[in-house]
Amino acid sequence: MFDFSPPLIDWMTIAPLIAVALTGLIALMVEVMMPKRTNGGIIGVSLVGLAVAGGLLINNLSMPNSETFSGMALRDHFGTLLQLLLVVTCGLSILFSEGYLREKRIPFGEFYPLLLWSTMGAMIMCMTRNLLMLFLGVEVLSISLYVLAGMSRSEERSEESAMKYFLLGAFASAFLLFGISFVYGATGTLQLASISEAWTSGGISSQALLLFGFGLIMVGLSFKSGFVPFHQWTPDVYQGAPTNVTAFMAVGSKVAAIAAVWRVFEGFQIMSDYWIPIMSWVAILTMSVGNLIALLQKDVKRILGYSSIAHAGYILVAILAHYKNPQAVGFNTVFYYLLSYALMTLGSFAVISLTAHSGREGTMLSDLNGMWKRAPFAAASLIVFMASLVGIPPTSGFVGKFLIFSDALQAGLTPLAMVLAVNSIISVYYYVGIAHATVVAEEKRPGKSGRPTFGLNSTCLLCTVGVFGAAIFYSPLMNFLQGR
């Protein structure tokens, strides 16, 4: 006999999460009930479920910060906004997927539930300050993505990418878990909030444990965010996975990993004298390596893979600026840049998915040729995304880079700001290369290219509107971010 009092649970905190998970289950049941129909029903269910989750998240935005489930789930402005971004990302990926999957001859109904559950894992990573929950989120996110990366079963490249992602992901998880166990050894809890106390009250031995644990956790998270020197899997996996999966991987997985990095830095803030110099070098390397190797690539998906590495570096600069000078620099820059990165990257991959036709897909630069004639709207929006990735006004990419630049200067990270500026100039070359390829008239294989569906056009439209809108309505957006 023992006394048990039911815990008080704030269900609203995890209601969006439950909505996404249930939507995945319902979508799977729709697939079971109607295996011989097109995926229209599943897409409808998924989009409705995501809309519900989005509504719940917007509702959560106006609620006060709170913790529930013994501190395992957290509701705060930062986490809720990032979850909203993830839900939008998932919705946009679903919108353009069906046409591509049919062209690739792989329209498995299971794609949609898996994508939803992957989103759920990413959302868990945004809404917790508990290391074990963080790990669970990473796993839920990744395991679905391993499966999705290998979804094109008859294609060797897709299988290779799933295998590589799985092996390196398992490796990263092991590092993460090992680091968590060291932190647990030093603090006795899994809460990130207890670290600063353990650091000040503990002796030299527990400080050493914390530093070592922090290092291992950061190795694990660097794999997930694609920081150099743990970036090598990125281009291979991005190239091999089906393009719509790559789109979600490049955005959803990165947003979640950046959120996790943010939370871990927050927990280890008291040791920032040790890690800010190291992470600054990581940021410099990430920006430079990503951009320099991208110059040599001929495959569009690989170029965007390296570009996503470079952008992870830019975001890391923004994060470091905050932790260098928390009073002056808030999280707005990080969120704004993630939003802009999400829109332009997702849009670019959506347009590139048009190169698939009758089960075949070519993603070399030359495969984009003639797109201007076949799909003028998609080609035009691809050019907008490239302009935004370069950082040309009036796009959100420009505003985002400008914000990071000024934050870095304000926080006294002048060298990082300089490297960022130089890298932006380097990146012009390959982004212009992609934009140029779309307007070249001669097609390599005439007629062998998919036609844009309604879903793809709407994804392009929404992303384009977002890229311009975030730049033009900058100050209302910032007021919204600050909760005013």
Binding site: F2, E31, P35, K36, P107
Partner: protein, 146 residues
């Protein structure tokens, strides 16, 4: 004290007798046709000599995965039941509904596994052509004709 284990001793003896009888009798009474394949060392039903890179049906793997999943489920249920038996009403009610939610996800997974024929040895699952939609099927036929 010793009496409690007496039944176990009987069980061991009976098992030894029954098993020994089965093996001995089938060896004495059964027909003996020797083939090279039968003479070979036993290796779980697989030819013991040959290329090591043999391909196995993926079904073995699926069954193993499903077994592990449902095995883990039972582990959780077992520990819950152990606590449930001696708990107060509050815990019983609260944890019962929690477990209902937990089991619901398992049932969905089970129904899905049955549906795709994951444990059906003869079935192979492939994409239903209807999934591609009307337009693409028409495309395919046109290309095949051409």
């Amino acid at each position: 004290m010793q009496g409690t284990y007496l039944g176990l001793l009987f069980l061991i003896v009976i098992a030894a007798i029954v098993c020994g009888a089965m093996v001995t009798l089938s060896w004495l009474l059964g027909p003996k046709k020797k083939t090279p394949y039968k003479e070979a060392p036993y290796e779980c039903g697989v030819t013991p000599v040959g290329d090591a890179r043999e391909r196995f049906p993926i079904k073995f793997y699926l069954v193993a995965i499903l077994f592990i999943l449902f095995d883990i489920e039972v582990v959780f249920l077992w520990s819950w039941m152990t606590a449930f038996k001696k708990a107060d009403t509050n815990f019983m009610v609260f944890s019962f509904f929690e477990l209902l939610g937990y089991m619901a996800t398992w049932v969905v997974g089970y129904v899905y596994a049955l549906h795709v024929g994951a444990i059906d040895w003869d079935e192979t699952t492939s994409l239903a052509p209807e999934k591609l939609g009307k337009k693409h099927n028409a495309d395919e036929q046109k290309e095949n004709v051409a």
